[in-house]
């Protein structure tokens, strides 16, 4: 029994670690989709967030040398990722909202562009810095270790799970709660949902549809991009490699459906998906690893089918998802 509990805790712990990047990616895309914009460029934005986040922390360390402060490095990484993602989302917003181009195609174009930029920045750093870009161990600690004191982490059973996570898990939880309250409880959130469900109605009610769509998409893009940075800094160990993000962004798009467009669901949803992606390492079932790894996608398909069969109103995608809004189009 003891052994089971220990290994379960270990699994839960790494599920949370692996889920953290997904959590940001998903929350950002939920905010975006709530405004009726289906931004399929999450993978691209996360790539850019990963590359620029790493670049920010790396060059800060290089500039500050011995005196580099961990907290500052974390903040710089977050800021760089946020700005990169917001910029990418701005391109998407301009083309789909102002110029009313097809959202699917623009999102895919952003994916191509963003992975290109991410890889380029990563490669560029690698070639100019002599073949290897990695954060120093001192700074890396601030990214991968818990911000809480050792005493709390040593509480039996729950200590490591509750207090032993890296800082981004806690930031993510805070963002999810804020976003959940914002969407559900505030007037702005209500307006945003109205824009996503029926932009024409929202427009008639005096809501500035364009502004809401822009803000939600840009902020959402920034949040998604932080997920890319978290992936590079924690899971990829602060090193840029050719693998990049390995489809993390697409998994986030899937997770949005799984979470039924609710930020609070992203908390446990990302944990579950994070767990599913590493489950094959810990629990041995008589199915091959590679089949194991496609479980998250199969689960998503099933959820997607289920919500379309049950037709429950509150579980549907935002009504206008994927469509451009043009006032004179009624």
């Amino acid at each position: 029994m003891m052994a089971f509990i220990t290994s379960f805790i270990a699994l839960l712990f790494s599920a949370i670690v692996n889920g953290a990047p997904l959590m940001f990616g998903t929350m950002g895309e939920i905010l975006t989709e709530k405004s009726g914009n289906l931004n399929l460029g999450v993978e691209g934005m996360m790539y850019m967030g990963g590359a620029f986040g790493l670049a920010g922390a790396f060059y800060y360390e290089k500039a500050a040398g011995e005196g580099a402060i961990g907290v500052v490095a974390v903040l710089i990484a977050i800021l760089c990722a946020l700005i990169a993602g917001a910029f990418a989302a701005l391109i998407y917003s301009f083309i789909t909202i102002s110029l009313r181009a097809n959202q699917n195609v623009t999102g895919l174009a952003l994916s191509i562009f963003g992975t290109g930029v991410g890889q380029f920045v990563g490669e560029y750093m690698r070639t100019t810095e002599g073949g290897y870009v990695a954060l120093g161990n001192n700074l890396k600690e601030y990214f991968v270790n818990s911000p809480f004191p050792k005493v709390l982490q040593d509480i039996p059973y729950i200590g490591k799970i509750i207090f032993g996570q890296n800082i981004f898990v806690y930031i993510g939880i805070v963002v999810a709660v804020i976003m959940g309250v914002f969407i559900k409880k505030t007037r702005f959130g209500l307006n945003l949902r109205a824009v996503g469900e029926s932009p024409a109605t929202a427009d008639a009610a005096g809501i500035n549809v364009t502004r809401y769509k822009y803000l939600a998409t840009i902020i959402g893009g920034g949040i998604s991009a932080i997920g890319g940075m978290v992936y590079i800094m924690t899971i990829a160990n602060g090193v840029w490699n050719h693998e990049g993000l390995a489809g993390e962004g697409w998994l986030a798009v899937a997770l949005v459906i799984f979470c039924l467009w609710r930020p609070m669901n992203a908390l446990w949803g990302s944990m579950l998906f994070g767990g599913l992606t590493i489950l094959y390492l810990r629990v041995h079932l008589p199915i091959p690893d590679e089949i194991y790894k496609i479980l998250p996608y199969i689960v998503t398909v099933l959820v997607l089918i289920l919500i379309s069969l049950r037709k429950k109103k509150e579980n549907q995608p935002p009504e206008s998802l994927g469509n451009a809004y043009f006032r004179e189009d009624r």
Binding site: L38, L40, I91, F94, I95, S98, L99, R100, A101, N102, N104, V105, T106, L108, A109, L110, S111, I112, F113, G114, T115, G116, V117, G118, Q119, F120, E123, Y124, T127, N208, T210, R211, G247, W250, V253, A254, I257, P288, D289, E290, I291, K293, I294, Y297, I298, T300, V301, L304, I305, S308, L309, P317, G322, F326, E328, D329
Partner: protein, 371 residues
């Protein structure tokens, strides 16, 4: 955007003449080239020599040209497959998975029947297997969309990763060559598409598909039905069309063509199957189809253009030490510019108080005088 009293407003244009529309598209192409040039400048390279390197690296020699065509063929084939779906406003972004599924089907025959049947029979079997598997992969999202309205964009997207995961499993499991290698052995020579003019004959199949798709979309009853559904499902129902049936039928066709592309890639280009067989072609082809306005002949030009960028970026890396990912950046910029330019074709901007004058970057003031 229009916060205060509207400084300008937009209105839909009624049909712009095709020639003018294409002029705007070509103009946006040049805008993209200029933006790309600025990026080269920013990176400290001479933009002219960079572009020259891209062109000479992709078209300069026969060998390079062949490789460029080899890159363009799957792009073209997949764009053709996607066209009828998009015309129907069925957002099939699962071409990636359908290509992969087709590749699996073709590989199954290549591995099982190689050496047992004549080469030509084997190649035909592989083609059928590929088309069938691609169609099956497209069938499920189509069925659920038609029957229960399940969101097809997200469903097809998920199917991509399931197919890729299956290949990873086959690679390390049942079809693995040397134990532990995680590699499927290279195909028997009977299972490899013959070459015509030094390139695997997939390019001929792709060109035939161009003609087929053009006729199918423009002159067949099916094509007409697809167009009507794309305009309005209710109109289609009112006219007595079975929307569900047409949706499924169109997706089966689309999936089958994607499957054929998968077959051409494993049998012609790679000569084996691995998880990256689709190599993002499924996604890039969507942009190709869209930018070509779903016109099969325009797809030839656009897929060739993107192939030039991809191949050219390779030689750019060797010649000027610019990472190859520059090709994705420039491709992205091209796509952005060309997506954006559609706005100037479909809408006009009318300024407050200047109702007789329009600001349209691509200089066409005449249409507005009517307003």
């Amino acid at each position: 955007m229009n916060k205060k009293a509207p400084l300008f407003h937009l209105s839909k244009r009624s049909m712009m003449p095709q020639s003018k529309a294409w002029a705007i598209r070509i103009a946006s192409f040049f805008v993209a080239i200029i933006i790309g040039g600025l990026i080269f400048l920013f990176l400290g390279n001479n933009p002219f020599s960079a572009y020259f390197e891209i062109l000479s690296g992709s078209l300069g020699k026969n060998v390079a040209l062949r490789q460029t065509i080899k890159i363009a063929v799957p792009l073209l084939g997949t764009a053709l497959a996607i066209a009828p779906c998009f015309k129907m406003k069925f957002w099939n972004i699962g071409a990636e998975g359908q290509i992969t599924a087709g590749a699996i089907g073709a590989t199954f025959f290549a591995l099982t029947f190689a050496g047992k049947v004549p080469s030509i029979v084997l190649l035909i079997l592989m083609g059928i297997g590929g088309a069938l598997c691609g169609a099956i992969w497209a069938f499920f999202p189509a069925l659920f969309k038609a029957k229960w309205g399940t969101n097809e964009t997200l469903f097809t997207l998920m199917m991509n990763y399931i197919a890729i995961g299956l290949v990873k499993w086959l690679q390390g499991g049942p079809w693995e060559g040397k134990p532990g290698s995680q590699i499927i052995p290279t195909f028997h020579k009977d299972a490899i598409l013959p070459k015509v003019f030094g390139i695997h004959c997939g390019w001929i199949i792709a060109l035939l598909l161009v003609i087929f798709m053009f006729v199918y979309m423009k002159y067949s009853k099916h094509g007409y039905e697809i167009a009507v559904i794309g305009e309005s499902q209710n109109t289609a129902r009112y006219a007595g069309m079975n929307v569900a049936k047409i949706t499924v039928r169109t997706m089966l066709l689309s999936g089958a063509i994607c499957g054929l592309v998968g077959y051409m890639v494993v049998s012609g280009a790679n000569k084996t199957l691995y998880a990256g067989v689709a190599d993002n072609v499924g996604f890039t082809a969507i942009t190709v189809a869209w930018l070509a306005q779903l016109n099969p002949f325009a797809m030839i030009a656009i897929s060739f253009l993107l192939a030039i960028l991809t191949k050219g970026a390779g030689s750019l890396q060797t010649a000027m030490a610019v990472p190859t990912s520059i090709s994705d950046i420039i491709t992205g910029i091209f796509l952005f510019c060309m997506l954006a330019c559609e706005f100037f074709i479909n809408y006009k901007i009318v300024f407050k108080g200047h109702s007789s004058k329009t600001e349209v970057k691509d200089k066409d003031g005449k249409a507005v005088a009517v307003k």
